[in-house]
């Protein structure tokens, strides 16, 4: 298993690359989820959440 994590001597490049991908793509996913939750909360607070409610 330690051989796996060593990545044939390239661990210092392979794992940071995957970490960067996780941060960029995970980051935009989390931001999207938070933004959706916030807008839904505000829509509810103004009584605009139900479909067909007056715009």
């Amino acid at each position: 298993m330690s051989g796996f994590f060593a990545m044939g001597g390239y661990a210092a490049y392979v794992w940071p690359a995957y970490a960067a991908a996780l941060i960029a793509l995970g980051g935009v996913t989390l931001m999207s989820l938070f933004a959706r939750a916030r807008v839904r909360r505000e829509l509810r607070a103004r009584g605009l959440d139900r479909r067909g409610a007056k715009s």
Partner: protein, 240 residues
């Protein structure tokens, strides 16, 4: 009244999105798990690039979908400017940050791949520079869409930028053929068929579909948010 009309299409979108999102999100998660497993445990190390080739399984899908995502953004720009489609502007606002994240992923993973294989984190050659330009086009779209007091003006300015920037897509694609570059030429999408062995090609394609589903999921979810945000703005205007 005009507002009600503009929401006719978005309301239909909300119904579609509410049904599609759980499926696209679930498919994204499953494909990512399968794709990552294949990338690390099925694909063999490359005979020249050794284990660094595993970076390709995120680098190449991120590159493909950031470029396709930009083409989508430009298509939305045309839909807004030519056909005044009410959903296009909201979808473009939703898609631009996702495209930026994909482009950033491509650039950073490429840097971590370039260092051990080329001996440098970065070179200002045609492929890398045009990819950096793509990243800045996404950022420019985000900035322009927010630069005006009226969101409609921002939408139009960003749509024009998206259309002008399309010229960068063929430059990225053919940069490896037109100029000398450290970047290797295409090996999957080329005339005469792919030159990659299936043990590497199949994991790559699974990851590519996973990234596509991630893009779709995020754009659907973020478009919902933009529709809600526009409704809040209209309600605030009506209350004045």
């Amino acid at each position: 009244m005009a507002g009600m009309h503009a929401l006719a299409n978005p309301a239909r979108f909300q119904r579609f999105s509410a049904r599609a999102l759980p499926w696209s999100a679930g498919l994204t998660a499953i494909l990512l798990l399968v794709g990552l497993y294949m990338a690390f445990f099925v694909a063999p190390p490359d005979y020249q690039q050794k284990e660094t080739v595993r970076i390709m399984f995120v680098h190449v899908p991120a590159a493909w979908w950031s470029m396709a995502g930009y083409a989508f953004l430009a298509g939305l720009g045309a839909a807004l400017l030519v056909w005044k489609h009410p959903l296009a502007a909201l979808m473009a606002r939703a898609a631009a940050p996702v495209g930026a994240a994909f482009a950033a992923t491509c650039l950073i993973t490429g840097s971590f791949w370039g260092r051990p294989m080329w001996g440098t984190w970065w070179v200002w050659d045609a492929r890398l520079t045009s990819m950096l330009v793509l990243f800045f086009l996404f950022l420019g779209h985000i900035a322009l869409s927010r630069a005006f007091d009226s969101p409609e003006r921002g939408d139009k300015a960003a749509a024009i930028l998206a259309l002008v920037g399309v010229i960068n897509l063929p430059i990225i694609k053919f940069s490896v053929d037109w100029w000398n570059t450290l970047h290797q030429p295409a090996s999957v999408m080329k005339l005469g068929g792919t030159t990659i062995h299936s043990s590497i090609l199949i994991p790559l394609l699974v990851m590519a579909v996973a990234f596509f589903m991630l893009f779709v999921t995020l754009v659907l979810m973020r478009t919902e948010t933009e529709i809600g945000r526009r409704r809040l703005e209209m309600a605030a205007l009506a209350a004045e």
